[in-house]
Amino acid sequence: MEILVCVKRVPDAAENEIVVGAGGADIKREDLVYSVNEWDNYAVEEAVQIVEREGGNVTIVSMGDSEAEEVVRREMAMGAAQGLLLTDAAFDGSDGLGIATILAAAARKGEYDLILTGALADDGAGQVGGMLAALLDWPYASVVNKIETKDGKSLRIGREIEGGTQEISDIETPCVLSIQTGINEPRYVGIRGIRKVASIEIPILDAGALGLDAAAVGAAGANVRRIDYFVPQLGASAEMLEGSIEELAGKLVDLLKAKGGIR
């Protein structure tokens, strides 16, 4: 199977305290630790496992600036033969549809049987996979937590819906699936793995190379625009306890006792 996996370079929200910059135009990005979007790492692992089982190739694609190349290479090191970087100043300010349009143009340049995305990225939208499928007129399934290859024409998949219930379906290929965390255990990529793919050239495609009208993507084509970031003023938030570790532990014991937390 020929599989394309879409990956995004994002600030790691678990590792970083996200701070809104002056005027709210952006968050403060200087000291942030970036990595691959958590969900995308599971998508890459799943693609690599399918290809190890069935043969074929995995291609990693990312739309972003030149720094996204490092993320593409890291994900290639998990077992992908090719990478693609979609970079153009005209892509800046793209909304979800813009990103999906750019990725669809890249997908059309290959002959893929399956495209995987993550279920969600840092802006919490969960939109790119479904849009990409619609642009390509391929069937789609979101929050996928199981993929079994059936015959050459379809896959048996599981979607993880509310309450952890698994919804089983058969879906025709080519298709787009967005991957939920926990579907597999992504392999560890060491420095040796990265070295193995270090010499593979990652083609960089711009709007021209993708045959895209620059006015249809980026800020120019966006129907959804972020005006600014802000920290919400919340009425009732938590009462914060202060003190040394000793004092904090003491206060917590008293509170837990009072609330019936210690039995």
């Binding site: 929200a13 939208a125 969960g126 993880e160 698994q166 879906i171 625009r225 802000f230 000793e246």
Partner: protein, 322 residues
């Protein structure tokens, strides 16, 4: 603008989803003065339609055996067909909305507005909404051009439910529109989540651990604390994904819904998917090293501290206090 507004009413076992009432409020605050039309699709859905007509002035019924299971791939072409030009469609931002919405917006050629948590108003054909990014750590003002229409998903709990029974609406049978639907994705079956060794939904006191615990070995610190308290251990999703605890211990929209009296959140950031599994307004005590963690907006009492330092001391103190 004079918007035509529609709400997709999700339902299960003959009952409308909680989102049906919240989406009326959301629709009316986005498009003041609008009278949202409810769309109900399924098989044998008269009861749901009647229930929905107590909140919506107009209900469109799509009754068809093939729609017995809400397969988004089947529903999408139906909605493309029946929604008028310029329509605004509201959906719940859950695994169904994620499945249906993005592709529907593309096929209708309209704007997609995901996971709305607040509204700043409608100005001309610009819908101004509030969203959250970076796992809820910061919010954003977002402007959306909706002149051609929109597909909008709304976060559960972000809007007050409208009163049920306030309206005597009419049900319009549009089932004829469902003729000839087909999809390249076929529903096979549902597999229920397995039961665990303990049932966290029945526990009064939960010590819940998140990714902030750092390593598998450190789970023992949490188990020690829970044992000293006489409480049960639950967790957030990444702990289950990493196989540090079993799936039946997971709290949240894709895990269990718990109703404890006391909930201790240890190294949990407070995503809406996690908080969505905590009901009954417990005494929620959060310990997190990041003072900006969204969990502190939901907690009753918060402590900014490193778990590695605080947990052993806390466990010792509890043991001594007995």
């Amino acid at each position: 603008m004079d918007a035509k507004v529609f709400v997709y009413v999700a339902h299960k076992d003959g009952k409308a989803d909680d989102s049906a009432l919240e989406l009326v409020t959301a629709a009316q605050s986005m498009f003041p003065g609008s009278n949202p039309v409810a769309l109900v699709a399924g098989s044998g859905i008269d009861a749901v339609c009647q229930e929905t007509a107590a909140t919506y002035g107009e209900v469109w019924k799509f009754d068809q055996a093939a729609l017995a299971y809400p397969n988004a791939e089947l529903l999408r072409p139906l909605l493309v067909k029946v929604l008028p030009a310029g329509a605004m469609l509201l959906l719940p931002h859950n695994t169904f909305g994620l499945d249906l919405g993005p592709g529907l917006s593309v096929q209708r050629g309209v704007t997609y507005v995901p996971d709305v948590v607040g509204i700043d108003g409608l100005e001309g054909t610009t819908l101004k909404v509030v969203r959250q990014e970076f796992a809820g750590q910061v919010s954003a003002h977002v402007h959306c051009a909706v002149a051609k229409g929109a597909v909008i998903t709304v976060r559960s709990g972000a809007f007050r439910p409208a009163p049920a029974g306030a309206v005597a609406g009419q049900v319009l049978d549009r089932s004829a529109d469902t003729a000839g639907l087909s999809a390249r994705r076929k529903f096979v079956e549902l597999i229920q989540a397995e039961a665990g060794d303990i049932d966290i939904t029945r526990e009064d006191v939960l010590v819940s651990v998140g990714r902030g615990i750092g390593e598998k070995e450190n789970i023992a610190l949490v188990e020690d604390l829970a044992e000293a308290m006489g409480a049960a251990v639950s967790c957030s999703r990444p702990i289950v994904d990493a196989k540090w605890l079993d799936r039946p211990r997971q709290v949240g929209t894709s895990g269990k819904t718990v109703k404890p009296k006391v909930y201790l959140a240890l190294g949990i950031s407070g995503s809406f998917q996690h908080l969505g599994g905590i009901k009954g307004n417990p005494f929620l005590l959060a310990i997190n090293k990041n003072p900006k963690a969204p969990i502190f907006q939901a907690a009753t009492v918060g402590v900014v501290a490193d778990l590695m330092e605080l947990l052993p001391v806390l466990t010792e103190k509890i043991k001594k206090s007995r």
